[in-house]
């Protein structure tokens, strides 16, 4: 049962990010003859106002949205953790400088970073990725640095040193496994946040570029035809909801596991 709670959200995320391989139709193919088609074997979720397959568009949108989220999360986890580990090991004098710097930079909310980067480089997938990664990586560094400091203060580290473990060994073999849970917990919550940010930004028109399908821009397009076919609006919302929920559930499992350990 406990495993199931963990596996189902992961399966949901994997399906949403890799589902485009199963797409029944070309998501870009317009077909004026099949405008607003209702649910059928050819078009499982029907078609939109240009006759494009809604199901295929949802799956391709998932690839874009979750692709950004997964790549961003991987970068944040790798770089953020390593920098945090090294900063956490620093002596108090040097770390005071980094502490104040981190405090200053993380005081700016993530949305503000997005607006700054989109304002500079215009809207595209790389911009979105950079903006999301930058704001999250700083938080990740802060978290991993604090966790490292806590772990390094514990007696087992002292014992490891006194039996001759090297600095790198202590950081990566002893400290890292002890804090990885809380880092992944944080990361999953950030992933949910990232999905919301990406969707919200493309909904208000700062989309990821012309011709890029994502759930936010699908919402934006179907908003105008809400009275004709409301299901076009509900499907993207449903998928945004499911993915956000999945990431939150994974985070919760991470948190719950810690209590049992």
């Amino acid at each position: 049962m406990k495993k199931l709670k963990f596996v189902i959200p992961i399966l949901v995320v994997v399906f949403c990010s890799l589902g485009f391989m199963l797409a029944p139709n070309n998501p870009y193919a317009m077909d004026a003859a099949h405008k607003f088609a209702s649910f059928s074997a050819d078009y499982p979720f029907g078609t939109d106002q240009y006759g494009r397959c809604e199901f295929s568009r949802i799956l391709y949108g998932g690839q874009v949205t979750l692709g950004i989220v997964v790549v961003g999360a991987a970068i944040v986890l790798l770089i953020g953790t390593v920098i945090g580990l090294f900063l956490g090991r620093m002596s108090t004098g040097k770390s005071l400088l980094f502490n104040s710097l981190l405090d200053a930079v993380t005081a700016i909310p993530p949305l503000a970073y997005l607006i700054i980067f989109v304002g500079i480089w215009g809207n595209s997938i790389p911009t979105m990725l950079v903006a999301l990664t930058v704001s999250l990586i700083l938080r990740m560094i802060k978290l991993s640095k604090t966790q490292t400091e806590i772990e390094l203060g514990k007696a087992y580290v002292l014992c490891a040193i006194s039996s001759g473990a090297s600095k790198m060994r202590i950081l990566f073999v002893h400290v890292l496994p002890n804090m990885i849970r809380s880092l992944i917990h944080f990361l999953c919550l950030s992933c949910a946040e990232m999905i919301m940010s990406i969707s919200a930004f493309s909904f208000i028109g700062l989309n990821l570029g012309d011709d890029v399908i994502d759930w936010g821009s699908m919402l934006q397009e179907s908003r105008t035809v809400y009275s004709v076919r409301s299901s076009l609006l509900y499907f993207p919302i449903l998928f945004i909801f499911i993915c956000t929920l999945a990431f939150n559930l994974i985070a919760r499992q991470m948190e719950g596991g810690e209590e049992n350990a």
Binding site: Y156, C159, I161, S162, G164, S166, P177, A261
Partner: protein, 266 residues
Amino acid sequence: MLEVRNLAVHTLNGKMLLDDISFIARPGICAGITGPSGSGKTTLLKAILGVSDGNVLVNHGEILLDDSNLLKRSAVERRNLCGTDLGFIPQNPMTAFNVYFTIGAQMSETFQKRLGLCKKDAKQLSIDTLKKVNLPDTDRVYAAYPNQLSGGMLQRITLAVLIGLNPKYVFADEPTSALDEVNKQYFLIEQLERLKKNNSAVVLVSHDDQLLQKLCDEIIVLQNGKLIEEGRADMIFSNPANEWTREFVTLSNFQKKGTWIWNKSQ
């Protein structure tokens, strides 16, 4: 021979922790360090091992290991001495292990890294040493996580690691704090005496008068970071010079004569 000469330790903001400490640990001899809580006993051990806290400065004196000053060596060189030359039994066994790994994994890892053993030999050595410290339920202990074992068991495991490493100098920081009387008497004392016979130098930090009397050849007494008394163990116990030592000896004599009365709660 390990010789500490005029060692002084301060915190970063100038508070004195240890002042002008000198003592010698010779092979085959057990030196006891005692003194009230907060007198700097653990600080002294940490300074010798080079694992002092970040806000502590070792700013005066020398620690000579076979006539070469440890304080002049690099951190990497000093760490390489730890485990093989300088062994440490930590004060609080409950926090001495990484809760993320099993006891066996941590013991084998230490033996593999420090003694250069292969995986199989390291496991065998771990099991042998666990048996030596009266943990006959070896398979369970080997596969257990630290939080599944009691403080006394973990304390014996720290001793097992030390026996396996067989260092030339053993620094035991209150090795009996979590042990019951039987284990203390038979196993800890026996094992430490075996180390002594193997020509290791044992430095024992303890408040335990029985342990000090049984094991130690020499005793130094610290108070407020100063060395207030030193001498042979029997001399200290028969003829204590300092006020704190006198009280310590009086209390230990009380217990021996059986006049120490425990008021059982109803």
